[in-house]
Symmetry: C2
Subunit: 336 residues, 2 copies
């Protein structure tokens, strides 16, 4: 596959030009570009520059605000809500994080609900700012109803990612970010674009039969990872990042989209915990136990989640990123 | 298999006699009996009366206190710790729940850390009292290092269950409780007792090779469900119900056990959220969205987690429970 090499600065400028050219405000465009360029830099093609296509498509379909200003609401001693006003989630997150951190340090645990946002971004990037401040964090969000529950045959859940982060002294954080679907929707779309068959177990066709055809699965239903256990986790995400925070389920998001092909609309829940408020003066001693766990994983050849991202990061910073020429040309065309 | 039928009252009295005969204080015995009889009643044999064997064995091995009184510590506006003093977790949980509920109602989200406890119980029973009060709840606990991380070959993680509960008006709560291992340790022990082969994917032998021999897997390592995603969740449980709350990882618990064959020692983390503090006057309207999600699952034949338990419950109440004669005789012998 022919690729184009871009330095991170070039990727940033290209993405910023595309988004502002299409009408996103400077504040929104900056938050979005930092996210997609961070994904591309860290080797996550499915949450990298490719996402610009969906962002612009969603705007052109009238399904996202290009400039709404987030409104913060202090709901309870340990709860903050940020109403994104129909814009993408990232600016609301950026503006709500300081209050979430303050509440977490004061109460020991706190929650941020981002509401009425359109969501496309990787969750690991949402919680990295919390781990950088020494906090433990969990994040999740519904998406569109693309995934069948275990025992079912039709889409109901979203891909419903769960991300978890743990701070490490003098090391990149331990962060995993996983769809509760067997694969990310973006991965299936990349298979379709590349004309590649899916691994078995990723989805079913419109008749509910197992299928490895990406287009058939996109028209049918994706499956959760890990059978009924993954399905239970997907339901949990629907509940705690949907009704609990007064926002849409994946089914409601898809109905709101009404066939426009826009990105998911709804909420995101982030929970942060402050080890210091649990452990006080014993914090460092107990965090050392976590390091022993990580060493125990690596000693037997198990990878830490996030390792690939942290390995890709300095390589991209030094050598830039390589993206498929067809994708590059699609993106450039959006900026003209 | 020959079975013995016991009414729930008979099961309760038998269990209470066994535990007090072996030296557990009345308060501890009552909390434990309610738990194991609840498991048996709800059709969870692996967390039912069978657990009495492990409880008494752990006591006789000197690995659990029969009578320690829990000590509560108000650590932060949204954090309570309960030190079980080396006893089983259940009495500490019972005594800490009112403060956890109060903090959750005040702050919107709160956490309970149970420390220095020996743990054997099903987590769904730990969070049912929270859902009964209209709260959303999450619970998890490490166990003994029995499970290999994805990509590894040796035990490091516990079976590390995660339970989640969602309150429902006029209905039993939506609660799942799942090991992050492919199966519960107790299920593998029941297969060994019954001389049955394990389904593939549950474990590996001491040389790291896939095995369906229950004894070989008990000597080797169990596997997580869902490959690297289940493994990531297992690691999360180690971290948030271990170092974060100042307690042991599964590896440390097994080392503490030092071959005595006792039950896991360590901590448990429970997080509770109050929908009312997120939603205010709109609570009922948004909880109705959750009901639509449940209906959507059931309409396509997907089961709600917990359905089997709620179906078994009235049957056991009317007809009693049937347990294998060999198990019954083992239990009776412990009471003599």
């Amino acid at each position: 596959m022919e690729t184009v090499n871009l330095s991170l600065a070039e990727a940033y400028q290209l993405a910023l030009r595309v988004l502002t050219h299409n009408g996103f405000s400077a504040a929104h465009a900056r938050a979005m570009v930092a996210n997609v360029c961070g994904g591309e830099r860290d080797g996550c093609a499915s949450h990298g520059l490719y996402r610009l296509l969906g962002c612009v498509h969603t705007l052109r379909a009238g399904k996202v605000s290009p400039d709404a200003l987030p409104r913060l609401e202090d709901k309870a001693p340990a709860v903050v809500r940020a109403d994104a006003g129909g814009a993408f989630s990232l600016l609301a997150l950026e503006q709500a994080l300081p209050l979430l951190v303050e509440k977490t340090r004061r109460c020991g645990i706190a929650a941020l609900a981002i509401n009425h946002c359109v969501h496309f971004s990787a969750l690991w990037a949402d919680i990295e700012p919390l781990t950088e401040q020494g906090l433990v964090a969990l994040a999740c969000t519904p998406s569109h109803a693309w995934v069948a529950p275990a025992g079912g045959t039709r889409p109901l859940f979203g891909t419903n990612p769960i991300a978890f982060g743990w701070p490490r002294a003098s090391q990149p954080p331990f962060i995993f970010d996983m769809a509760t679907s067997a694969a990310a929707r973006g991965e299936i779309e990349l298979h379709r674009r590349a004309g590649k068959a899916l691994p078995p177990g990723w989805g079913i066709d419109g008749a509910g039969r197992p299928s490895t055809d990406a287009a058939a699965v996109l028209d049918g239903a994706m499956l959760t990872f890990g059978g009924h256990k993954g399905s239970a986790l997907a339901a949990m995400v629907e509940l705690i990042a949907g009704p609990l925070i007064g926002d849409m389920t994946s089914q409601e998001s898809l109905e709101y989209d009404a066939g426009a092909g826009g990105l998911p609309m709804g909420g995101e829940l982030i929970i942060a915990l402050d080890p210091w408020r649990f452990l006080g003066d014993e914090t460092a001693q107990h965090l050392a136990r976590a390091e022993a766990l990580f060493s125990g994983m690596q000693a037997q050849g198990a990878r830490l989640p996030g390792e690939r991202r942290y390995q890709a990061r300095p390589v991209s910073e030094a050598q830039g990123v390589n993206i498929p020429r067809a994708l590059y040309e699609d993106i450039v065309a959006l900026g003209q």
